[in-house]
Chain length 151, copies 2
């Protein structure tokens, strides 16, 4: 079982706090946080298209892909845990993608198997990565029967 | 105008990242992150009551108090910005309180003027403080007309 999390940014943006979550998640499931090159242009739509093509080339049609998106559905921590456990068991691997400064291109949003969001608010990118890692860690702890999560 | 954010924990838990948000928020509005002593007992309900009494003694009946609570309402970043701007203008000060490991005692939840939440998920305390600071920073930047926030 494996979780891949793609983000638009550089490897050196990954914080020690994130590395600590990756280490802890690693006791339950392989998990990789993978940077994607950002298009070196400021024009939003064109940049999103180049970035999207680059990402979509990395994955196959069979991959189970989840986008973090402002129009996604919301799950509570228990539901998210149940869902990720079942999905990992059924699919073996899940891939998350989070948007860059310009959001995700339509070609990615059209491709994904599921869109998820954490509430209505907009979050800054670095903080959002940490939030996603925390929820994935929490989800696997719940599924693994630890007492980390208190309702 | 002033924002006070109370949390159950110790001053040395406050991260550099949080201090950076406090510094940036400080350009728009006075903002304090205030630790509250945690009851040194493990029995949840009793601890919550002691902690709640201690906190409620610090504030007056006139204070405008917002709790972060899982049963709170949700606002998007634009609405939160509009709301915090108006509330600061009308009331001069807003006070936020976030729960400890056991959540908030009923006496606090009964006292508050508003309950807010960031989505359905449960968040770890340190990360939640950072999330609250990020949204307050974002809200004041939106209200101040900066281009930090991109819809």
């Amino acid at each position: 079982m494996k979780i891949k999390i793609y983000f638009f940014g550089k490897k050196n943006e990954i914080l020690d706090w994130e590395k600590e979550y990756l280490r802890r998640i690693g006791f339950r499931c392989k998990c990789e946080l993978i940077p994607l090159a950002q298009a070196g242009i400021t024009e939003g739509v064109k940049a999103k298209k180049i970035e999207a093509d680059n990402f979509l080339n990395k994955i196959s049609d069979q991959d189970f892909l989840i986008a973090f998106d402002e129009n996604g559905i919301e799950k509570d921590s228990m539901d998210f845990s149940k869902w990720i456990k079942e999905t990992l068991e059924n699919r073996g691997e899940v891939i998350f993608i989070m948007g860059g400064a310009h959001g995700l291109h339509r070609s990615i949003l059209d491709r994904v198997n599921l869109k998820l969001r954490f509430g209505k608010m907009v979050w800054t990118r670095n903080l959002f990565r940490l939030m996603a890692l925390e929820q994935i860690y929490r989800a696997l702890e719940i599924a693994g029967g630890s007492n980390f999560h208190k309702e």
